[in-house]
């Protein structure tokens, strides 16, 4: 085990190096570029024995990885924002082919107007594509999640591609101490690549050809069932990883001081750390509040939310993306989950904030959560949806 000071992007590069995928294909886009720059350096220096394919677009980057993965290779790519949108068509091809692979998404606001700062809108745009969607809170988790992602993706109960998200610049370009596991141990833990079929020329098969409606429906239904199984696999892989490498996160969500909480704040990504700081201060003031952080957005952690939010007096959800004309995406999913037990609905509030990279501080969280709790305590109906803007 080695300890290094790494940016979030380089933490992902090191995770990929430990896994040693046979193929890496990528196109440079801010703020992702330094992931593949570092991998390119590693390949050039002989530190990493992978084939690096330099392609002309993100659409081609994922297509190259898709082809390599079909042929039996571990494959990796990374992208951001417009690049992810550009590859969106192929995103669906990979999941519907049931082909395991891993992609890092370094979140950045979607243009126009041109903007390089992060929110979750590019990540959320992939919501219905059939990928497992994970999101890290710090650089260590970015490394650990990337390694875990290969194991989850290649489990026969899953066989779906996995994307690992981090916020650009906030984690992507900020340095933290990161523990790097032993390379041999990682490879041993991952074992040989598993996939449901290989296109290697040994027998004539067609992938993604025309199928009748009923057969296509069967294929899609299999993805839905595998998403449900993935919940157990994610927890199991995290436990095994903890035993092997000493760090374990718990599964689809992380519960921070929410065991005895009357109120719950729900979030995803790096700003959860600021929210936890705010919760610490509020606890000192006597507010019994906790944070439930989503580590996975798909499969959606319905059961965790029912368990924790279902026994809360109030739940406030912080979304760093908006579904224009509706609410924040996490909130919409959370309300749909809670509606399974409508007799125990807590007071609910959705705050969309931090859009386009606007900085949300721990003080902002403190103010917003306190306001929410006080309105519920007074018996008032809290604001159901609010777009919190800094000016």
């Amino acid at each position: 085990m080695v300890r290094k000071a790494l940016t979030g992007n380089h933490a992902i590069s090191y995770a990929v190096k430990l896994v040693k995928p046979e193929v890496i294909a990528a196109y440079p886009i801010t703020p992702q570029t330094s992931i593949v720059e570092k991998l390119s350096e590693m390949v050039e220096s002989g530190e990493l024995d992978s084939t690096m394919i330099r392609v002309e677009s993100e659409h081609s980057a994922l297509a190259a990885c898709y082809g390599a993965a079909l042929a039996g290779a571990r494959a990796f790519t990374a992208t951001s924002s417009q690049g992810l949108l550009y590859m969106h068509e192929v995103v669906h091809w990979v999941s519907r082919a049931r082909i395991p692979m891993v992609m890092a998404v370094v979140s950045r606001t979607i243009n126009a107007p041109w903007n390089i700062w992060p929110d979750h809108s590019d990540f959320m745009d992939q919501r219905d594509a059939g990928w497992i969607m994970a999101y890290a809170m710090d650089n260590q988790e970015a490394l650990d999640l990337t390694i875990q992602a290969f194991k989850i993706s290649e489990d026969p109960e899953v066989y779906l591609p996995v994307m690992v998200g981090i916020e650009g610049f906030i984690l992507g370009h900020t340095t933290m101490p990161v523990e790097i596991p032993d390379e041999e141990l990682v490879r041993e833990w991952l074992g040989p690549r598993r996939q449901p079929y290989v296109v290697d020329g040994s027998s004539p098969i067609g992938v993604g050809g025309l199928t009748m409606p009923e057969e296509t429906e069967d294929i899609f239904h299999g993805i839905q069932e595998s998403m449900e199984s993935a919940k157990r696999v994610i927890e199991r892989v995290d436990r095994e990883y903890g035993r092997m490498f000493g760090r374990s996160y718990g599964g689809l969500t992380q519960c921070y001081r929410c065991e005895d909480a009357d109120y719950l704040a729900v979030s995803m990504g790096a700003w959860s750390g600021d929210l936890m700081e705010a919760v610490n201060k509020l606890r000192e003031e006597g507010y019994r509040v906790g944070v439930l952080r989503l580590r996975f957005y798909r499969p959606f952690p319905r059961e965790d939310l029912l368990e924790h939010a279902g026994r809360s007096k109030g739940v406030v959800v912080f979304d760093r993306a908006v579904s224009f004309g509706a609410w924040g995406p996490i909130f919409a999913d959370l309300v749909a989950s809670l509606a399974e037990r409508p007799e125990k609905l807590p007071a609910l509030s959705n705050i969309v904030a931090g859009i386009a990279g606007v900085n949300i501080t721990s003080e902002d969280f403190e103010k917003l959560v306190k306001r929410f709790i006080e309105s519920v305590e007074k018996g008032e109906k809290p604001v159901y949806f609010e777009w919190f803007r800094k000016r």
Binding site: A97, R98, P156, Q195, G206, G209, D218, H221, S226
Partner: protein, 94 residues
Amino acid sequence: MDRVEVVKPVHGRLPLTTPSKGVAGKTGLWRTERPVVDNGKCTRCFQCEIYCPVNVIRVEPETGVSIDYEYCKGCGVCADVCPMRAISMVPEAG
């Protein structure tokens, strides 16, 4: 490459088919122009055969150029690359 284990998925059907004879690749009704060859002008230089993107042109030393119209898309690349202007594009509708 490290070993790959092929293991059936626990859930779901795979989007796989077995290739069989079909109509794939045939042009159908959508070609608007067809290339027509004047074999008298042709010097057997093979440029059209080399550049045809769908590989439907054959050049024989004795007989000259033949085109498989079942699969020709009418793109006109052959007419463009022919140095002798022995191929012309003719509207399908006459």
